[in-house]
Symmetry: C4
Amino acid sequence: MNSDKNRDWKNKLHEIIYEADTPVGKLFDVVLLIFILASILLVMLESVNWIDARYHYWLNLGEWIVTILFTFEYIARIITVKKPLKYIFSFYGIVDFLSTIPKYLSLIFMGTHALVALRALRLLRVFRILKLARYLGASNQLASAIKASRAKISVFLFAVIIAAIIFGTLMYLIEGEENGFTNIPKSVYWCIVTLTTVGFGDIAPQTPLGQFLASIIMVMGYGIIAVPTGIVSAEYTRSASDREKKKEPEKPQLNTQSCQNCLVGNHRDHAEYCYNCGHNLHLE
Amino acid sequence: MNSDKNRDWKNKLHEIIYEADTPVGKLFDVVLLIFILASILLVMLESVNWIDARYHYWLNLGEWIVTILFTFEYIARIITVKKPLKYIFSFYGIVDFLSTIPKYLSLIFMGTHALVALRALRLLRVFRILKLARYLGASNQLASAIKASRAKISVFLFAVIIAAIIFGTLMYLIEGEENGFTNIPKSVYWCIVTLTTVGFGDIAPQTPLGQFLASIIMVMGYGIIAVPTGIVSAEYTRSASDREKKKEPEKPQLNTQSCQNCLVGNHRDHAEYCYNCGHNLHLE
Amino acid sequence: MNSDKNRDWKNKLHEIIYEADTPVGKLFDVVLLIFILASILLVMLESVNWIDARYHYWLNLGEWIVTILFTFEYIARIITVKKPLKYIFSFYGIVDFLSTIPKYLSLIFMGTHALVALRALRLLRVFRILKLARYLGASNQLASAIKASRAKISVFLFAVIIAAIIFGTLMYLIEGEENGFTNIPKSVYWCIVTLTTVGFGDIAPQTPLGQFLASIIMVMGYGIIAVPTGIVSAEYTRSASDREKKKEPEKPQLNTQSCQNCLVGNHRDHAEYCYNCGHNLHLE
Amino acid sequence: MNSDKNRDWKNKLHEIIYEADTPVGKLFDVVLLIFILASILLVMLESVNWIDARYHYWLNLGEWIVTILFTFEYIARIITVKKPLKYIFSFYGIVDFLSTIPKYLSLIFMGTHALVALRALRLLRVFRILKLARYLGASNQLASAIKASRAKISVFLFAVIIAAIIFGTLMYLIEGEENGFTNIPKSVYWCIVTLTTVGFGDIAPQTPLGQFLASIIMVMGYGIIAVPTGIVSAEYTRSASDREKKKEPEKPQLNTQSCQNCLVGNHRDHAEYCYNCGHNLHLE
């Protein structure tokens, strides 16, 4: 009976932490999102010299609060899952661990710069919350349009890269080292900067011939920027009219249940058992 | 009888100032638009040192003319409305007040720089005239297309910002302070500059690895610029074909009537009474 | 009889010069196009100091050849038209005159720089040849798509300019003169540079707050670049599907006849008389 | 009998080298692609001074390995084709030859810089492998959309160039040599940089009038960037819906057979004889 209560308590905690169907579960996700964003803000502010110099104490305090809360969350996640090892070595398990550990490590390795990279990993945790984005009902159609045009955009970008290498090599030969095109990789980098219409201007052609070729590259880039846009636009229109024909309303997937046994998500709305491992989703 | 005439006179003035259905009302709006734009031009010219030095007298004169005209307009608006307090504390009431006051304040606080900000607020008054834009018949469809795709573009821009933070942090770690990436916020700022293909070039990656990552960011930015465009394009096509199916001509809303009592607009074409408060729109 | 032959000769010359339906007329237009482009090339090369220094003799010679040919063409145009005064004071008449005169003027006013501007006007003559573009059969549909979306794009660009003024003023207040934002017009110029994703980088925000606002401007610009593209795309799709429904093939307008009397173009394919003045198009 | 075996062996080698229908043929293409990319990487790395200084021995070795493999491939291609001369003087024959020769030439002409250009030609060989891209099934539809809108985009880009020349000349006259607009070609180059929203910033307008004109150019460029995108998008949508109507699935062309006699490709799936020269495709 005690074990049953314990299990019941675990189940409820699992629902709160891993799912977002219940009010408490939603609240948990929102609070977690705020803490993740706050932790990212701390990393960003700490990198600004004068802020770190002035408010070091408060930043440090905030970092400890976040770290301790993340620690509790990490432990809770391990406890409520049936197969803790599977969670620990899952993608999000590792991200959760690496988001929590840097502050503890900083006690051992004082002032190590590289820990910033570890702490920046916390941002990946946001994607866990992106399941919230489903509520917006917008990302589904968007995702399918991108998915449908992914292959075509890849082919296109591949062609862009080949063009960048060819024109980059030509610019290297025309402009030479004295005008900033010191080697072919740098020249290719310049060519990508130009083709994508970013145009930093840290390197710019100086010779008339180089400027002429650059003009061709730019006009070409201007012409081809149309292609990926056209593809996504057409795919999106197609997917929208397909849905209309089938009379399917644009239904956001509201179900955020996650199996306690195998951690798989995307269950059907009234699913009682996990479609992956057969585990009962509601009771144990 | 006298009171009736007075009321009649007020009604006519209300129609002229708040509506644009009658020729005089239209003329008033056009004249007001010209004065608002002139007042903005004055603010802009005054900020140019050599122009201010040379033509200070004329700029000052122009500013006083505009201020006095705005004052009369403000008073007229208060008089012709039935509930002056409601107008005074409405959004446009406050904007109208703040557009008029800076010149008077400059008499008290001589040479205060911050008054420029107040005066720039005048530009917000242009939106009041944007009801004129309805005559162009174009903004309606445009607005609905933007509205329909607003949620999707928000999701998309949110993803862009997350990407900017992740790549910005990476660039900070790769390039470091010696190459201009002095802290993470600045690095994220650079990343947004690059992803949106603006590319100022005040900060530019110097290390080969940084340039390689920058290339990936740019090509990615180039690929994803397609997404919002595709969405708006598809929504716009859909809304256009929807309208065609319903045989609804693209009808601009010509009615600019505004209730004298509660200041609500968007009345139906032949409405006699305000749909919001029941006030008679034409007589009193 | 002699007068008849003379008239006949005039008619043929008129057909050659003003129309492009006959092989000789087409040839004339192509030759003229080449000479216009050559004359533009001469203007461009002459502006390059070292080229002018070395090849001044040849550039001068070429300029004289072009000028003399343009003179003959101008005289021929006057002779073959029935109402020479109407041609002389028409838009193209003035452009033709101004394209021919600079070299003669340079004999009187030696070395005047401003004549370059006059000579650059020659480029406007290219538009006369753009009637040739009709043969490409592509510009018609393109033009109609642009025409249909012109009003909407205008409304949109107007909104962009208002945004540029508001954000430009804000940036002026935030960054101030010490960071290059010396006055509001310059600040608005910077804002347009940024919103259109051009990003020269000659002026760039230096303060954190300025960079934050700049980020918002850029992301906004990135989001709204979608709008005009979406509009044109949708209009173009609609006009294409409209044409398909009507089973109208995409027919380029091949007729380039021009009335000898009133200079009006765009006649129907088998028109015998000018729709504007009733003049016989083929005989006299 | 011996000759038969020899012919059989040749046929098999031909299938492996020129076609990609068999597993070995596919493997050959993939291996070749890797070597081409490796050879390009070697050219790029060699141009970086410090890498060349440190790893010159290994780069040289790699270059020799690639050269020798390309030599074997070149010889194999000549042997297996029935009309070797036709191959040698075909486009790809010349590219293959020029990709192989530079290292041998470097033995004769020591340290000639221009050989880099020849070696960069290797990249063109990638297009031979692009027949592989057909497997992606994506490039077909993409190519047809670009093809359909090619003429329209050309007309458009032509208009962009004319605009660039007109505005470039104007900017030259307004800004003059002291602000970097040293001559008209450079000014036109700047104008293309601006119209395409690249914006290097190596040249930027300094005078208020120049900045005003630049603003107009940018807003115009912003408005017209919509046109090519709209065209491609509409063409793509049309081609996609055309295909759907005809119930034709988007079928990638899987056949990569190439005639041993006349080198022509694009044979039908079950073709036994070359459609161009009647040569038997499978046997001899």
